[in-house]
Symmetry: D2
Subunit: 274 residues, 4 copies
């Protein structure tokens, strides 16, 4: 089980969420609190939308807590949308190409959870990837395969539909191999202007996921926290687990649901495989 | 283009061929002489048959010339059969799972050369791998795919036949994609008692390959070289390029041929795709 | 706080103590039980006396739990004396030259604990190192400095005396800088035939240390454990924390004491700085 | 012998000088042309002045040519002043703390060359470093020691004076140890607004160093090169070797001289040790 966070809003230095909070993502790499696996030391990654609007990646097989370059970048990079992920491998190699987020065109994708029986179902899933995309797969994780299946199913046009079809295929292939609970996941997907998030598991027991309370509410609840005043009304985060203990600051994303962070009101919808 | 060596015979410390010769493999990682690509700094690997007869691996993404652990191991490991490889990537990632040699059961496999148009043919070749083997593929190289195709075609029963069928498939798939010269390769394959080697290219221009002259001949030619007296009559090497300039010490392996190092006399045979 | 183990006796594959026990050292790298710092993921090292009797090292900045080369080596290396160490940095860089064990001539040295106020006292201690040895210091840890100070004070002639003088100097220099508890440590030092171990702290609160019960006793206590019958009477281990829960199998080393594992009877002595 | 470049002027993406030119620094890491050592694969580093004006570092032990994160950052980072360095170790470890540039406060420092007899003189030089600075030394290179000696001699107040005194000490200590040619160097030192560069060797044979011709001249010489029109008049570079073959574009820095890039006219002065 990994841990991740996705940020959208007023550009702030990445370190403000990656290093500074009491239970920051980097501390979660050493000791996660709401996870079965408490150490997430099998590499990490950071993705952000840069000056030109293109997504950039910094991924490493070092544990996040002792990577010096990460500290440098987290102090320097300020972006209106960034993703960060600390990995705990469920078996596949610790290598840069297996670190999240994954990127394709303007899309970033990261995952916590797993496809059960990965060794058994991998080939069938790989065959279902669109041939023109197949060769872009660089690593060996179930997560990257989920991304390429979703791309095959039209992620660039309709994110929730593509994810529903991807999950549907994984459920079907898994069951054909006698796997009882083929998938569990939380996902974040960005395109530079929106972030989609998903929480789902075959058995209804997906890992935790939270989104931040509307910043206008937070200002009322916590008038003394300066950061809440300096970021814009559209600033939002989605996280595997809260990194500060502020009552009212985090809303749990329900099981079997998805949402999107974008201009206008956020909404959370029910999610089902297709 | 990579560089490699394979050794079979009286156990000697690996460092005697890896570090000590005038143009040792580790120096070839810095400056190869008979190769278009002169720097082979994209990782390396060493495989050997250990105490129990099982093949062991040490692979790293560091350049061989500055890896301290390699120096330690090369001084310690003494084996009757070992492989070493310095990599120059033809495009795929520099990661441990892309370093040679590759291993499956008791087999070690390493390659120099490439499958042309790899991005175009990768999927078709992957589909041809036996489903039960597919999931064992860990990296993204053309080389590892060649190994798994050969395993699919019965490498464990008949090495030359399996390689001929693998090359035949690569030729066929490549041509179907309009690729003129689909494959070029030198290969070494070991099973703990024998080493097979191959030199082949679609256009007859495979990279260089040499095997060492019979040690009994070498003793006559060079009576003053102590190492020739201390190793047994069955000691042989196959190398991408000679690492000492001793006239008469190296025999070039002809284009389109293969051989096997084993008890009894060595022979070199013609090779053709099936 | 790090975790370590030292083994002396009948050669066994290193993996038997490094990977296979219920609370093996590699699992301790993920979750130590008797330590304030539970994750020891800032690199690791293994040192052993090889074929020729020389000490060999394999050290890496990866976490031990996900290092593939370590698994290979631990399966292959069988040695009558080996050291292994998983590191949790107390502030100095995660780099190979800061990984334990350290080596000088035939000596191996590893440490758990710290010199308090390291930044303040480092220069004074460095000045005290014998000039001919100074240049061999490769890393930046307090641990390596302790080793070079002990070498300066005659480690190669009298280990307990040299350690007592080293600790005496650290105590003196620390106090001169106003540091209340200048040192805490457990140490293992090997020369290929003996292993010395030390447990000491300025305030009497050194980290835990255990040595294994005499194997002849263990055979009586646990007649059904096959490994106890296949290793010789002189087989011993010293460990930061027990890696199997066998009542009677581990003896705690008292605070302020040292011992030596060698032919004949083991004894534990009181230790004091000189 | 390493290779480096320093840029000052209109912010441009670092990749324009690091990756895109015909003989870019990254290609020099594979095959330098004006150097005895042609491969500079022992790590690299990049330093730049970021949004806040603070110097940032990205340093890695990978060869520059196969580091994916470097490609990402070089595309993203645009800075009015940046340094880049590819390393060929003269013996010290390949580790991040030995990669250039080094940083202290607002200063960046990088070096090509060496202190001869480093093992012999290291201790004497270390003793000369101001005690309050000593503990900030993180690596083991002669280069970093030169930086800390210069800081000891007032680098933050008067760069040329501090470098002259540092070189004077190295010459004196070297000669006291019977070393004939104690030092050879090219240096770049930045503080965010100026870049100082030095070329000096005890025997008058320092490695090559070039600075770029005034951009106003370059526009006249090469009216068709668009980049010359889009950067400001104050844009300058200093490089170990030219990375494009444009006659008139590069001025060799004479032996035993130094210069500074700043507002107003550049001048090159004679340099002598003090």
């Amino acid at each position: 089980m990994c841990r991740w966070l996705a940020y959208s809003g007023t550009p702030i230095p990445v370190e403000e969420v990656l290093f500074k909070p009491a239970y920051s993502l980097v501390l979660q790499s050493l000791h996660a609190r709401s996870s079965l696996t408490t150490t997430n030391g099998d590499g990490f990654g950071m993705g952000w939308y840069g000056h030109s609007g293109s997504p950039r990646l910094y991924r490493s097989t070092n544990p996040a807590w002792n990577d010096r370059n990460l500290r440098e970048l987290a102090a320097e990079v300020e972006s209106p949308m960034f993703f960060a992920h600390v990995r705990s491998s469920t078996g596949t190699s610790v290598q840069q190409t297996n670190c999240h987020p994954f990127r394709h065109g303007k899309f970033l994708f990261m995952h916590n959870g797993e496809i059960s029986g990965w060794a058994q179902v991998k080939r069938d899933l790989a065959m279902a990837v669109e041939p023109g995309l197949f060769t872009s797969i660089e690593g060996t994780t179930d997560s990257e395969m989920m991304f390429y299946l979703a791309l095959t199913f039209g992620l660039e046009k309709d994110v929730p539909e593509a994810i529903a079809r991807m999950v549907g295929l994984v459920e079907k292939v898994g069951k054909a191999h006698g796997i009882e609970r083929p998938i569990c996941m939380t996902l974040a997907i960005g395109d530079g202007t929106r972030i989609w998030f998903f929480r789902y598991a075959s058995d209804g027991k997906a890992p935790t996921l939270y989104f931040s309370t509307d910043i206008r509410e937070l200002r009322k609840l916590y008038p003394d926290i300066p950061r809440f005043r300096t970021v814009g009304d559209d600033t939002r985060m989605v996280v595997s687990e809260p990194f500060v203990d502020l009552p009212g600051a985090w809303q749990e994303v329900p099981q079997s649901s998805w949402g999107v962070i974008q201009e206008g009101e956020d909404r959370v919808h029910g999610f089902a495989a297709v």
